[in-house]
Symmetry: C2
Subunit: 154 residues, 2 copies
DNA sequence: TGACTCATGTCAACAGTATGACATAGATTG
DNA sequence: CAATCTATGTCATACTGTTGACATGAGTCA
């Protein structure tokens, strides 16, 4: 169509649309989280801990799509401010299981409500069957990308 | 299902799946662009210029989802290295129309081919009708998020 | 047992990007 | 026409996250 011999047609590119949507989602989330003094990584960390208590620093990093070094400094802040706790010594191996404090849970509740409104707005014009289809497709895409990229890179 | 009273079920969240896919795409792109000495913003800038020559710094920034300040420093590098050119004075207003040099176009060709393989891999298990559906849905989601967020923020 | 591999936590240095601020050009409005 | 508003380019600064490196704990295998 508007192809020009070189390059990828951005208007028709699923990749570009994906980045567009993801960027809009991140911006919208940051907008509602800012008044609560949080950013997206912040929130992701607490949300992960609520659903899977005892996650280690490295596991949290993977779940929030940042490096374990970045998650480490975040956890130090969250721990200092009393939102999460980690044991002084590792019960097994080197992994320190992290848990939400009651204070952290209260903080998360506000943030989670805000994020939920964003996700609802995002999905406003899309019915349930379409949502299920999109979810399946996004998972498929993620898996395809990881297959020849991440774990076993020939 | 795995809902816990507080929080959003990450396993069932379209937002999380979106972030997952977007993160996997970015990682895969960075992997193939690194050998060429480029990153994603780098590539996005050149790709935008190939399709819409004469774009200004601010327009490029919006297209690549970064601030105009970030795009500005990138453009200075690209200009210094001879991949793009900008007139010394603005023909109208303050906007400086940017263009690819032949050298920049050659550079883009390599990068674009690499990125195309990534996008193809991502869409491997998804047929054309599904792709069209996803494209439509992603656009819809982006638009819904911008409606009450970006331009006119009540 | 000892050597190897792998994952983890953490430190230091670096890169990329965002935030804040300012001056300038054009459009809008009274 | 003058005042105001909006968009742009660019600087200086701060922050967030990445890359690179190291030591430690736990499995694996000969």
């Amino acid at each position: 169509m508007s192809q020009d011999g070189v390059g990828i047609d951005l208007e028709a590119s699923v990749g570009y649309a994906l980045k567009e949507a993801s960027s809009a989602l991140r911006t919208a989330m940051e907008e509602v989280l800012r008044p609560l003094g949080m950013n997206v990584t912040h929130y992701s960390c607490l949300e992960l801990l609520a659903q899977r208590p005892g996650l280690s620093n490295s596991e949290l990093a993977r779940g929030a799509f940042v490096t374990r070094q970045a998650m480490n400094v975040l956890l130090q802040t969250l721990e200092r401010d009393g939102y999460v706790t980690r044991p002084d010594a590792a019960p097994v191996g080197r992994a320190l299981p992290t848990r939400l404090t009651p204070r952290g849970r209260r903080r998360l509740e506000k943030a989670s409500a805000a994020v939920r409104t964003v996700e609802n707005r995002m999905l406003a014009g899309i019915n349930d069957t379409e949502q299920a289809l999109i979810l399946r497709a996004l998972r498929q895409m993620t898996q395809s990308l990881h297959e020849t990229t991440g774990p076993t890179n020939p």
